[in-house]
């Protein structure tokens, strides 16, 4: 039996696509030497699971390098996953070869970010739209022609554009041609990789509205990849926020934007400039850069930048004290706390450092006990200009002993908006998980 024969009929609202434990690691280095000495893995996507129902729009959002595009391509089996399974209309895609999957591809289409380079400049618009139908041996030649013209109308272009070339069109129009091509085989799923980010704002709205209308009419399921949280809020039913190859949070759109629970999502939403000068409030900026996906942080991958890192249980500190210790830890890790050393190689007396540290981070005095001893030692390292030691010490003792570093968080909590559920990968929710 071929893969196509196993395709099940999926009704609206039923699971169309099921992704479980999907993982994609790339070799950071290839070639002879890497073959001999081995190379480190880039963990682009790591153990990700979610489902998409028919007729739904799910968005994957995240910053560059978070793995959202890799995830989408792995879902479509354009990239072989390292591990995990993907089931589309009941067919286990990972069980079949590329060749065997080909007939299935008419049900899964993709549109790309750049409307310039995704259309062959030597082909007429008509041919471009007919190509996928031809590839899947659908309809007769005359029928294909008629359908292509009809599709042009459906995406709010003119039938007469059939004989024109892509260069005659603006970016927005080209993205509509892409949409028409993706619709040609009447697919169930359309994966849209940054569909409007190359377009001007006024044109973005046109294309987004067309995508919405088409979905209503034909019941398409969209998996949208985007870095633009405003666009996502407008078109998605559910949103998955990705950070460094993991899904940090997944919830219905309204719930995610109105009630974000993961510190990363909160920081992300906080960072978007709002188009209203009256909501210019002070915002917390997320410090530092995204760590490398080679040897990513253990446990929660956001822990190295998280403003809510959880207190290690072995440290006996009040909430206020822990806040101060955490601030101090981050300052040392990023070396934003730099005393004025007298000369190139000379250190400073420990007293000078502790005074400065007390003034900046512990105005009510350094905590007692173990934490206090560690801070003293860090100060001695800073005084001797042994920054690496100081960084290592705070990281080892204040961050890596936290539950955030020990296990990967995965919790599901009840949603506040609506009656759905809300997946949040943060240990702050370990007590209210269901």
């Amino acid at each position: 039996m071929s893969a196509v024969d196993q395709l099940a009929d999926v009704g609206m609202g039923e699971t169309l696509l099921e992704i479980e434990g999907l993982t994609k690691h790339f070799q950071s280095d290839t070639g002879l030497l890497a073959g001999i000495f081995g190379s480190e893995d880039v963990e682009a996507v790591d153990d990700v699971s979610f489902e998409i129902a028919k007729g739904e729009t799910v968005a994957l959002v995240g910053e560059s390098g978070c793995g959202k595009s890799t995830l989408a391509r792995t879902v479509l089996q354009l990239i072989q996953p390292t591990d995990g399974r993907v089931a589309f209309k009941g067919v286990e895609l990972t069980d079949w070869s590329q060749r065997q999957l080909r007939p299935l591809r008419r049900d899964m289409q993709m549109i790309f970010q750049d409307p310039q380079s995704s259309l062959n400049p030597r082909m007429k618009v008509g041919q471009i739209i007919e190509e996928p139908m031809q590839a899947h041996d659908m309809y007769t030649k005359t029928e294909r022609r008629e359908r292509a013209k009809e599709l042009l109308e459906r995406v709010e272009l003119e039938r007469e554009y059939y004989n024109r070339y892509p260069h005659e069109f603006s970016g927005g129009q080209r993205q509509r041609i892409n949409l028409a091509r993706a619709m040609a085989t009447d697919p169930d799923l359309i994966v849209c990789d940054e569909p409007v980010s190359a377009l001007d704002v006024s044109v973005q709205a046109q294309v987004l509205n067309t995508m919405r209308d088409l979905q209503e009419e034909y019941g398409f399921t969209y998996l949208v990849i985007s870095h633009d949280l405003s666009v996502v809020r407008y078109i998605a039913d559910r949103v998955a926020v990705m950070y460094l190859g993991h899904i940090a949070e997944l919830a219905e759109t309204e719930e995610l934007y109105e009630n974000p629970q993961h510190p990363y999502t909160q920081a992300l939403l906080d960072a978007i400039p709002i188009p209203d000068p009256r909501s210019r409030d002070a915002r917390g900026t997320l410090e530092g850069d995204v760590p490398s996906p080679i040897n990513p942080p253990s446990g929660c991958r956001f822990r190295t930048r998280c403003p809510s890192l959880i207190r290690p249980e072995e440290l006996d500190l009040s909430a206020d004290e822990w806040d101060q210790v955490r601030r101090f830890t981050r300052a040392v890790q990023r070396r934003t706390f730099v005393p004025e050393y007298p000369d190139e190689d000379e250190g400073l007396p420990v007293g000078t450092i502790t005074d400065a540290v007390d003034a900046d981070y512990f105005p009510e005095g350094r905590p007692d006990g173990e934490a206090g001893e560690i801070i003293d030692e860090v100060c001695r390292s800073i005084a001797d200009r042994e920054w690496d030691d100081a960084q290592e010490l705070v990281t080892e003792r204040f961050e890596e002993t936290s539950i955030c570093a020990a296990e990967r968080p995965r919790y599901t909590i009840p949603a506040t908006v609506g009656d759905g559920v809300h997946d949040v990968s943060c240990h702050l929710h370990r007590d209210d998980a269901i």
């Binding site: 603006s170 709205a205 987004l208 809020r233 906080d270 978007i272």
Partner: protein
């Protein structure tokens, strides 16, 4: 009120192409006051970058600044006089050498969108910042290096002294953009032109940069011209805003007025077409069609073929860019729309929006 440092009047820049003359900037007037962040906002092709390049006289063949005045603190960057037959540059217009030695870098610096293209990949980051400082200020050697490190530290490069010898590819995109800001600031310019400096960056990194600009502006009192297409960024940092459409400024005013007392239909349409991060929007109202070519702009008001408020006179009469209201502190709010003129707009029939799909 703060002193006006840059005054641009009726600036015109054209490009001569095989397919005709492109009037990329067609009579643009705006000014910048000391310590102010002035926004230049519009969609691609509106003429934002050509405007800023013209201000710095960086327009190259086949383009040319063909008219208007640019005055920077009493110095004439662009100025013409009419000999009866043609416009010729006036004597007091700065020479190319004077522009290079006295204006670019040390008085007016520019930061571009792509930091990788603005940094030389084969020189160290620190060396490039130092060279810039040496060229534009009277310090050199050890002192310039110390200043370069200090600037890198100021813009938030961690371990600035250690990273001084790194190459551009060893920095992330956000870090590279910080280096460019450090370079610009290191020359202690009075005005920085920032051309879409955060467009290529992730939103959290953009947040860091905007925060940094706010801090630095407070500290050094530097003025900025901020070129962007992002109304969110405009709302976040600008004091005054110029909205451009097809080579012209269609609305100009304090940021709050632009968003809350919008006077030009294009600005209004632009604001209605953007999805909001902070609230759920039922339906976006896109602007129909696309911006026409600057080679053959529409007659009358250039926005009339796409304007939802267009009426008969808009096809013929070219609107005057004029003051439409004044804020309490005396800042002008200008717009070019026939609604504010006495040409029978209100009595005329509405036009159908006629655009090619």
């Amino acid at each position: 009120m703060a002193e006006t440092i840059l005054e641009v009047t009726d600036l015109k820049t054209q490009f001569y192409t095989e397919r005709g003359v492109v009037r990329a900037v067609d009579g643009v007037s705006f000014d910048v006051k000391q310590g102010e962040i002035v926004g230049l906002v519009g969609e691609s092709g509106a003429g934002k970058s050509v405007t800023t390049s013209s201000v710095l006289r960086l327009i190259e063949e086949p383009g040319e600044v063909v008219g208007g005045e640019v005055d920077y603190m009493g110095r004439t960057i662009v100025g013409f006089e009419d000999t009866g037959e043609e416009l010729v540059p006036r004597d007091e217009m700065l020479s190319e050498t004077q522009m290079r030695d006295r204006i670019r870098g040390n008085e007016i610096a520019i930061i571009f969108q792509d930091p990788m293209e603005s940094l030389n990949p084969v020189y160290t980051v620190g060396g490039q910042v130092k060279e810039f400082i040496e060229l534009n200020r009277d310090i050199s050697g050890k002192e310039a290096k110390a200043e370069a490190i200090e600037m890198l530290r100021r813009v938030g490069i961690p371990e600035a002294a250690e990273r001084y010898g790194d190459y551009p590819h060893e920095f992330s995109g956000g870090m590279r953009q910080r280096v460019l800001i450090a370079m610009a600031l290191g020359c202690r310019p009075n005005l920085i032109i920032a051309d879409e400096p955060t467009t290529a960056l992730d939103v959290t990194v953009e947040g860091q940069i905007l925060e940094l600009v706010n801090d630095l502006q407070e500290e050094f009192g530097t003025s900025f011209i901020w070129v962007t297409h992002d109304m969110g960024v405009v709302a976040e940092i600008c004091d005054r805003v110029n909205v451009m459409y097809l080579g012209q400024i269609v609305e100009q005013g304090p940021v709050d007025e632009i968003f809350h007392d919008t006077q030009h239909p294009y600005t209004k349409a632009l604001l209605n077409s953007i999805p909001r991060p902070d609230r759920t929007v039922g339906d976006l109202e896109p602007i129909e069609g696309t911006m026409p070519s600057a080679r053959s702009p529409p007659s009358g008001c250039r926005f009339h073929p796409r304007c939802p408020d267009a009426r008969e006179p808009c096809k013929e009469a070219e609107p005057v860019f004029q003051q439409v209201s004044e804020t309490s502190d005396g800042t002008a709010h200008r717009a070019s729309c026939l609604k504010h003129e006495d040409v029978g707009y209100w009595e005329a029939d509405a036009l159908e929006v006629e655009v090619e799909k």
